[in-house]
């Protein structure tokens, strides 16, 4: 009763403070996400120029309305047309998606057993295991990728070990191949796959598995019919968390991949820094954003609707 009374009084008192609190994240997203995307989009519609900044037209408020109309007239979608028509970009985007997809699949196959074992461990051990999964973050990502060069290069640790135990007599070429890129991505993104999976598996009620077995399901069948479907949210979350950044990955293919490893992140980097073609680089970034965001938004909406229906 008393609580109701307090609640009824509340709307009168909440005002500016409440709105500020709700508005803060929107402000943040507007300033650091929406605005930069808009700026990048605008640059993508420009053309390169040897100037500072290295593109034109530039937006000048001092010129008034006519200058603004002229500015609008100079913008064009040429960069996008170029990207679509040029095989390099399409191929780079395609191979990025392919490498990201196969890496995500490997991540899922490696991460699921790890997360499952963590969730089944004793509660006291779980904390330690979670800490162990997060531990690599204490070292810089870049340094860890460099370390893989030392492991994978022809006279590196891996080849040395394999030759010492006599499995091979010629060093394997792993560094500067797509295999090395896969290894790098799987290694780096593993925590992002394991943690969401662990979160859903840990919450799962063990009596459901017992019930399935009680009803005649072998442990393996119970795993496929109960555990996997119920961990679906974790599978989706983990896969998205790995797939999205993997598509745009630059450092890993640059350090571990060969010159023939085409990935959109590297193209973007070279357009931006080597060619100093900011507009084209921006257009590549926008295309990548669209390619990634649109399907994800659609997917999430479908998922939300599915959840809504089952509710």
């Amino acid at each position: 009763m008393a609580r109701d009374a307090i609640r009824r009084d509340e709307p009168r008192r909440r005002g500016l403070g409440r709105r500020l609190v709700i508005g803060a994240p929107y402000l943040w997203l507007g300033a650091f996400f929406a605005l930069p995307v808009l700026i990048v989009f605008k640059i993508a519609l420009s053309y390169p120029e040897l100037a500072q900044p290295p593109y034109a037209p530039t937006f000048d408020l001092a010129g008034g309305w006519e200058a603004f109309v002229a500015f609008l007239g100079e913008l064009s979608f040429d960069n996008f047309a170029f990207i679509v028509s040029d095989d390099l970009y399409v191929a780079a985007l395609g191979s990025s998606l392919r490498i990201a997809a196969s890496s995500t699949l490997i991540l899922l196959l490696v991460g699921y057993p790890i997360a499952y074992a963590m969730a089944k461990a004793s509660p006291s051990l779980r904390g330690i295991l979670v800490a162990a999964v997060i531990l690599p973050f204490w070292t810089s990502f870049l340094i860890r990728v460099y370390a893989w060069i030392g492991i994978l290069r022809p006279e590196g640790l891996l080849n040395g070990f394999l030759m010492a135990i006599g499995v091979i007599d010629q060093p394997l070429t792993i560094l500067n191949t797509e295999i090395a890129v896969h290894i790098g991505i799987v290694y780096t993104y593993l925590p992002f796959m394991v943690l969401p999976l662990y979160a859903t598996l840990e919450r799962m009620d063990d009596t459901l598995i017992e019930a399935a077995q009680d009803l005649g399901s072998t442990p393996l069948k119970a795993f496929w019919t109960i555990t996997v479907p119920l961990s679906w949210p974790g599978i989706v979350a983990g896969s998205l968390l790995c797939f999205i950044p993997a598509v745009g990955e630059f450092v890993i293919p640059d350090l571990l991949g060969g010159s023939d490893t085409l990935m959109i992140g590297r193209i973007l980097w070279s357009e931006f820094f080597s060619n100093r073609d900011w507009p084209l680089a921006s257009a590549v970034a926008i295309v990548m954003l669209v390619v990634l965001v649109v399907p994800i938004v659609l997917f999430r909406e479908a998922e939300a609707r599915r959840l809504e229906e089952s509710r």
Partner: protein
């Protein structure tokens, strides 16, 4: 005191027509033989031997941690006994995995699969058997009809109320027509009114299907209402296995007397056996010796015993009652429950006895009030002697 003819007497008002446990030729469906379960640091089940018969509604009753659930989980196959054997229909279940045992369990949390509809949940076990689709459909419909859930076949578990979920869990566990249905605290999650209704529904279903039910509960009322026989457990051991009537009217020891229902325990010592067959017990604080009609023959004079009397078998009056068993005290508390009134009466030595009285009329002349001096009495056959 006249000698009572005991030939036509039976303990408790329970169903008399079904008693395979008294039939020497009957073979048990489930047999626990010296079953022990040790966990790393504790003994959960300690040398339990128990027979359960076909068509029986059997209940394991005890406080939490007494080992009743572990005993049931061993029958389901989720735990392996550390010692002893479990036989089902004469076959040793050792090494048989849970998914190959012809028993099904209804879990306390119901453990319905949240991503499957009611229909799919009920069909789950049948699908594992690899039955043809049309057979499954018929059986599922039959089960849903049994628990009156046909209308909810397409719903998901989270769209159901607690009582509805309980029904689905029951239908799912019965769908495979198990030899034994295991019920783990089946009504614990329901509210009181629904629990009482469901108790009788479960009994009806049990009689209709003729399936052997093995239930685990800590709720003595639930056990008393539903079970043909009850096994009272304490710290991993069986304390008493008997019909509800025997458990209540002839408890074997203090633990059973105290755990099942309310009881007044009166300490005393055996004085002698009267020619009428009654035991004379010297009990300090009583107005004279107590007379108790107990069939126990092995009591020795001077032996310390406890006389247990249920509150409803005692009377509270202003005048001293006729007969041998009487106490005097002061009314300490009165609790009016509608159907019953509970009097807590403080004896002069400070002990408090509980007496209940059925409120058979709406108006009472001169009701007994707080702080009044009253007498408590009971008949010789209302009490039972606990020797251990």
């Amino acid at each position: 005191m006249p000698v009572v003819d005991k030939s036509s007497r039976a303990i408790g008002a329970v169903r008399q027509s079904f008693a395979p446990w008294n039939d020497a030729s009957a073979r048990p469906l489930i047999r626990f033989e010296g079953v022990t379960k040790r966990f790393s640091d504790a003994v959960a089940v300690d040398d339990v031997s128990l027979d359960v018969y076909e068509n029986e509604f059997f209940c394991l009753l005890g406080p939490s941690g007494c080992g009743k659930s572990t005993l049931m989980r061993m029958l389901a196959g989720f735990e392996e006994p550390s010692g002893g054997r479990i036989l089902l229909g004469g076959e040793d279940l050792a090494g048989v995995p849970p998914y190959e045992r012809p028993v099904n369990m209804m879990f306390q949390s119901y453990a319905l699969f949240p991503h499957m509809s009611v229909e799919k949940n009920v069909a789950f076990g049948l699908k594992q058997e690899g039955l043809p689709k049309d057979v499954i459909a018929v059986r599922v419909a039959e089960m849903l009809k049994l628990v009156q859930m046909q209308r909810f076949a397409a719903r998901k578990p989270h769209q159901l109320s607690g009582g509805q979920r309980q029904r689905v869990a029951l239908a799912r566990a019965l769908a495979k027509r198990p030899k034994v249905l295991l019920l783990d605290e089946p009504l614990a999650a329901l509210d009181k009114k629904l629990r009482e209704e469901t108790q009788f529904e479960l009994m009806d279903i049990q009689i209709e299907l003729g399936t052997t039910f093995l239930m685990v509960t800590h709720d003595q009322e639930e056990a008393m209402t539903m079970a043909d026989r009850i096994a009272v457990m304490d710290s991993g051991r069986l304390v008493q296995v008997a019909t509800p009537g025997e458990i209540y009217e002839q408890p074997r020891n203090r633990f059973v007397a105290d755990f099942v229902g309310d009881v007044n325990i009166l300490e005393g010592a055996v004085a002698a056996r009267e020619p009428s067959g009654l035991w004379r017990i010297a009990a300090p604080g009583a107005l004279g010796p107590l007379m108790v009609d107990d069939p126990d023959e092995r009591l020795d004079p001077g032996q310390a015993v406890a006389v247990a009397v249920r509150p409803e078998k005692m009377t509270v009056t202003r005048e001293r009652p006729e007969g041998p068993n009487a106490f005097e005290g002061e009314v300490w508390d009165i609790g009016y429950l509608g159907d019953w009134t509970v009097y807590r009466i403080r004896l002069d030595d400070g002990r408090i006895l509980r007496v209940t009285r059925a409120n058979t009329t709406r108006f009472v002349e001169r009701p007994i009030d707080l702080e009044e001096r009253v007498h408590i009495g009971f008949l010789p056959d209302a009490a039972v002697i606990l020797s251990s």
